[in-house]
């Protein structure tokens, strides 16, 4: 046998055949396939014991259940936020913002994980210890305090009446600064309207009890109050395929609410109040109104002048209202009659599409319609919410009285209303009567979410020392000298109050369910720690060991805190039905508001009242000025001549401005909101677009006096002519992450805020804009 080429070939063939006869090849094939099933860059979540905990999401008012899993090796983690079926108003439903809340909690790119101090030399924020950070902040506060400049410290909170808001208020009062502002909302406007006409600031709409609802310009199904609760009420009107309730929507966009409504009155922009008054007039002329309403102050003509009834007849006949609003006369009469006929029918006002607080006179018009229906205290009507019985946090120490407020609130310039970020920012930027040396932003993100965010951002940037207490490295935090990390609602103590428009007393509580980041504290704890560091009266005003302890004091009337926290909410069983004892000066319902009248008198003396009201933006004269009436929004006058009116597209697919836009929420946006990776989409009527020579998907620039944004045009027949509709919640530029940063533009940047007549609150639901091809 020769070991030659042929022999070798045979051996080699044998070897190859032999190897193939062995399991090597099939085994390798199988294992390669299994390898693709177990790629190590695909995560494998660890299984373990499941547990659930209740809490309430303060950003949405939804009662939720958090699902957690405890793995044997990796320990606890939260895996889902889902609805809490036991929660009396949200009944198991959730919003995209709730269901994606864990992204706010766990997405590292969003979060501030340790206290940060801005280093001027490197231009970066650097991590420091809590001690160091508090020392720096308290040191600055003490320095200003000692220099008698405590009033030049401004604070920007989110909600005044929550625990965090109260702690911040006490902190500022004890420190000696009157310059504290909060986010404004429709709740502020409704409180004023209620105070003006009924002497009651705590009104709600019994949507769940009603079966005929007219909603005036507010996105009832897309961001009204606690949206889940409203949707649950809506579900009640559409029970198992039977329309058991009727929804009528008045607004200039074929929005979701308008489309799901049984009837949509597509009115001209800003004329919703005129429609409400037109309905009032039909009720009266047809004799369909509640006779008890006739006894209300200012209904009939009186000494002061013509009454509400006369004014309606004079100015708001169906023909006139149809002229103003573009809603046909027959429609107005039909709706009014149906409204009158239905025993449980309610008229609803609320926030605008972009979360605007709404206009006081509009709200009063809607309350007047309810009054004529005899709705106060009735099931399915307007109810006064029960008081919650929260206990005060002890004696307040107020050193802030000495200096005037920057925003002039309480002066003749702005006699009613509440403090808002924009007014504070404008006044501070003017430096009159003094400059702001330090600002403390607690919990919110006003540089993004405040009306005319550009102005607020300019203000915050101009402040020599800015402190942000926030869970997120957002638009506000990136400008701050010191950033103090607080937790999301899933990792901290805090509370939330009854959502806007809800009919029952409601209180939500959230507690730490997990410690996702070692150094993060409850917002309340940060304020308390700062107070303790500062010492003196500030520490005395805030004598709590922790936010939990403060909550214990606050909720003493609601039982054991631990138990309450487990349950996470306190909600009254049912609305307080029954006759309402009006707390107005007359003790009656007032179409002519004595509260407003008395205030105006106080400010001016009887003679100059007209002038005062003019200065507050009321153009109507005589008794009408203090009655529900229609004032055309300032923006209407500026529109036309090639200018369009900008309004917001309400949506639950984007979060409220203070919350980051989560990747999941970004994902559910469709091509009518965001397109081509990062381009904002605005909606226009095809005719309007044609008149501007714009076609579908044209790139445009939307410019107002306040700012501008690039966008892409989407033609939508359901948009009122002469308007342009912009989504809200996009255009985040600060939180550096691959998903949401730089996507779209910010509505708040373009919308221009004006002072609402009487209330002085900023309103920005309509803005004259130029839309030009980019």
């Amino acid at each position: 046998m020769n070991w030659d080429r042929r022999a070798f070939v045979k051996f080699a063939v044998g070897a190859v055949v032999g190897l193939h006869a062995s399991p090597l090849i099939p085994k390798l094939m199988d294992d390669s396939a299994i390898w693709t099933q177990n790629w190590n860059w695909v995560p494998t979540p660890e299984d373990g014991a499941l547990a659930f905990a209740n809490t309430v999401n303060p950003a949405t008012g939804t009662g939720v259940k958090v699902r957690m899993v405890t793995g044997r090796l990796k320990g606890e983690r939260l895996i889902r936020v889902e609805g809490n079926p036991e929660h009396p108003t949200s009944k198991g439903g959730v919003l995209p913002a709730d269901a994606s809340a864990l992204e706010n909690l766990y997405f590292d790119d969003f979060r501030v994980k340790t206290p940060l101090i801005f280093n001027k030399d490197t231009g970066m924020h650097e991590a420091v210890s809590w001690d160091k950070a508090l020392e720096v902040v308290a040191g600055k506060l003490a320095e200003l305090y000692k220099a008698g400049q405590a009033h030049t410290v401004a604070a920007l909170g989110t909600e005044a009446k929550t625990l965090d808001g109260e702690l911040l208020s006490r902190f500022m009062a004890a420190l000696g600064s009157p310059n504290l502002s909060f986010n404004v909302s429709a709740a502020d406007t409704l409180a004023l309207a209620g105070w003006a006409m009924a002497g009651e600031e705590n009104l709600g709409f019994d949507l769940a009890g009603a079966n005929y609802v007219i909603s005036f310009g507010t996105p009832l199904l897309e961001g009204f109050g606690a949206p889940v609760a409203v949707r649950k009420a809506f579900a009640g009107w559409r029970k198992d395929f039977k329309h058991t309730g009727t929804l009528v929507q008045v607004e200039p966009l074929a929005s979701v609410t308008a489309s799901q409504a049984d009837q949509w009155l597509g009115c001209k922009p800003g004329t919703e109040a005129a429609v409400a008054l037109g309905l009032c007039q039909v009720l009266i002329q047809e004799g369909l109104y509640d006779r008890a309403a006739a006894g209300a102050v200012g209904f009939e003509d009186g000494d002061r002048g013509p009454g509400f009834k006369t004014l309606l007849a004079k100015n708001y006949s169906p023909g006139q209202v149809s002229q103003i609003s573009g809603v046909p006369v027959e429609t107005l009469i039909g709706v009014a009659k149906a409204f009158a006929k239905e025993p449980k029918a309610v008229a609803v006002c609320g926030p605008g599409g972009g979360g605007e607080p709404g206009r006081l006179l509009d709200f009063m018009a809607v309350l007047a319609l309810n009054a004529l229906k005899g709705n106060f205290g009735k099931p399915g009507g307007v109810v006064v919410r029960q008081p919650l019985g929260l206990k005060p946090l002890g004696e307040a120490i107020n050193h802030a009285g000495g200096k005037p407020r920057l925003d002039g609130l309480g002066s003749a310039k702005r006699p009613v209303g509440v403090a808002d970020h924009l007014s504070l920012a404008k006044a501070a930027l003017s430096g009159n009567p003094y400059k702001v040396n330090m600002a403390l932003v607690a919990g919110g993100n006003p540089a993004y979410s405040a009306p005319q965010a550009g102005v607020v951002r300019d203000f915050l940037r101009s402040v020599p020392f800015l402190v942000a207490i926030t869970p997120y490295l957002d638009e506000t935090a990136v400008m701050a000298q010191v950033v103090l990390p607080c937790g999301t609602f899933l990792e901290s103590w805090g509370d939330s109050l009854a959502p806007y428009g809800g009919a029952v007393a409601e209180y939500g509580l959230h507690r730490p369910l997990i410690k996702a980041y070692e150094q993060v504290k409850s917002q309340g704890d940060v304020i308390l720690a700062l107070a303790a560091k500062l010492g003196g009266d500030v520490a005395k005003a805030l004598p709590f060991a922790s936010a939990e302890a403060a909550l214990k004091t606050r909720t003493a009337g609601l039982g054991d805190l631990a138990k309450l926290a487990q349950k996470s909410y306190h909600v009254a069983d049912k609305p307080a039905y029954g006759s309402v004892s009006f707390k107005t000066p007359s003790g009656k319902l007032e179409f002519f508001s004595m509260n407003l009248h008395n205030l105006a008198v106080k400010l001016s003396g009887e003679g100059g009242m007209g002038k005062v009201l003019k200065s507050l933006g009321v153009s109507a004269e005589g008794t009408a000025a203090l009655m529900p009436h229609y004032e055309p929004p300032a923006a209407l006058a500026a529109a036309g001549h090639g200018r369009l009116l900008l309004a917001a597209v309400p949506s639950l697919r984007t979060p409220k401005g203070d919350q980051p836009l989560t990747p999941y929420m970004l994902k559910v946006l469709d091509g009518e909101t965001l397109s081509n990776k990062d381009e904002l989409v605005v909606e226009m009527n095809p005719q309007t677009a044609a008149s501007l020579h714009l076609a579908e998907h044209d790139r445009v620039k939307v410019t107002s006096q306040a700012g501008s944004s690039d966008a892409i045009v989407h033609l939508f027949a359901g948009a009122a002519p002469g308007m342009v509709f912009m989504p809200v919640g996009l255009g985040r530029f600060a939180i550096a992450n691959a998903y949401t940063m730089g996507r779209g533009g910010n509505y708040n940047q373009v919308a221009e805020a004006t002072a609402d007549p009487l209330s002085g609150l900023p309103v920005w639901s309509l803005t004259p804009v130029a839309v030009t091809k980019a």
Binding site: M29, A33, W35, T36
Partner: protein, 411 residues
């Protein structure tokens, strides 16, 4: 460098330099394909422009087209070995090689087209017998094996290799039993050509693709077989003609080509009668039941009715009429033209049946979206063509695939 001792006996080939230059061009295309393939495997199919609407793209069109055109192999084999048309022995070798190229090329492409190439064998191991694609996978793979068996003796006939007695003996014996393989190949091919058609015809929720049929086979099953065997012989002949033009040598007698043309002519005519009948039935009976009209389906974006006229008229009836004429078949140029039209018809049919069903949305509220292949997709497609050119060029240069070549080029 002289490689003439590897050339087939008694023929000449172009200079090595020219051949190498030509190979480099092909390899360049191959390089583009390799880069594309690497990206598609390493980074995933996001490198293509396919998406969830266009789940299939240009690759599937190329796949189906080359498998249809490669049908010349089995059908010529069928006619040569089973029907004993001895004249066709003069072209059968070329047909086999083209078939091999088309089928192996298609399988290579499919290996990249699937999202998990390492799991490709699941289709065999965990086969779902109800799926037309399973049938396709099995038949294509087994038929490729048949083609390899048919191809191997050709390789062994190389002047140098055939000097090894064992191999020569092996090749000779393989030749003797070729009828078995030809018959097997015919059987397999009938099924997978049909199944490829069936793949689309069974999509009963895609009105554009869906066809009624008999038992489990939709009409497209039979139409695909017919259009494949109608265009396959034309394609084989065309490649031979192209080789003749490029090499400047006569490779088969015109009689052989005419015969292939005649085969194509009758099959194409038969196919067209059935195809037109099918289209009419589909447009007038099948579609209305689904609530759609022919006009709607041929009205989306660039997919207008001109496609029908092109597919069935310009690339269907016209080449059929041409090829049926003896005078046309006698003319080298006209025969080639008619065959080109015929092949275009097959490619176009595969395009229309794969891309258009996906492009036309079925839900009334969905919109038409466009699709253009990415450079990676073109790269792979070009690579398959380059692969074919390389294999055929090598085969032509070194293997005695044209028995008539020596005789035809005498003097």
């Amino acid at each position: 460098m002289d490689d003439s001792k590897f050339w087939p006996q008694g023929v000449t080939r172009c200079k090595p330099g020219a051949f190498i230059a030509w190979m480099l061009v092909c390899l360049g295309l191959g390089g583009w394909a390799m880069l594309s393939a690497f990206l598609c495997i390493y980074k995933g199919l996001n490198q293509t422009n396919m998406n969830d609407f266009f789940a299939f793209g240009v690759w599937i069109v190329v796949d189906l087209a080359i498998i249809a055109l490669g049908a010349g192999a089995f059908f010529t084999g069928f006619m040569t070995y089973v029907l004993r048309r001895d004249e066709l022995k003069n072209i059968i070798n070329a047909a086999v090689i083209i078939g091999f190229i088309c089928y192996s090329g298609a399988i290579l492409m499919l290996g990249i087209d699937i999202g998990q190439p390492a799991r490709g064998w699941f289709g065999f191991w965990h086969a779902n017998v109800h799926s037309m694609l399973t049938e396709v996978m099995f038949c294509i793979t087994t038929y490729l094996i048949v083609l390899i068996v048919e191809f191997v003796p050709l390789v062994l006939e190389n002047r140098q290799i055939s000097k090894v007695p064992d191999l020569s003996f092996f090749a000779h014996n393989l030749h003797r039993i070729m009828i078995v393989f030809a018959a097997t190949g015919t059987f397999l091919s009938f099924f997978h050509q049909g199944s490829l058609g069936g793949m689309y015809g069974v999509l009963y929720a895609r009105p554009f693709a869906y066809r009624t049929g008999i038992v489990i086979w939709p009409w497209t099953f039979f139409l695909f077989i017919l259009s494949a065997i109608a265009s396959g012989p034309s394609f084989t002949t065309l490649i031979v003609m192209l080789t003749e033009k490029v090499s400047g040598r006569k490779l088969t007698s015109h009689k052989v080509k005419m015969m292939m043309g005649k085969v194509s002519a009758y099959l194409l005519s038969f196919y067209l009668v059935l195809k037109i009948a099918d289209t009419l039935y589909w447009a007038n009976v099948t579609l209305p039941k689904m609530g759609v009209t022919f006009g709607e389906l041929y009205g989306g974006g660039p997919y207008g009715t001109y496609l029908v006229w092109m597919e069935l008229g310009l690339f269907g009836v016209l080449p059929a009429l041409l090829l049926l004429q003896r005078r046309v078949r006698e003319s080298y140029g006209l025969l080639a033209l008619a065959m080109v039209l015929n092949c275009c018809g097959a490619v176009m049919n595969r395009f229309v049946m794969t891309i258009q069903p996906l492009a036309i949305p079925v839900l009334p509220f969905e919109k038409f979206v466009g699709y253009l292949p990415s450079w990676q997709e073109w790269g792979i497609s070009a690579g398959v063509i380059a692969y074919g050119l390389i294999i055929f060029s090598l085969a032509y240069r070194y293997l005695p695939i044209f028995p008539q070549e020596v005789e035809l080029n005498k003097g």
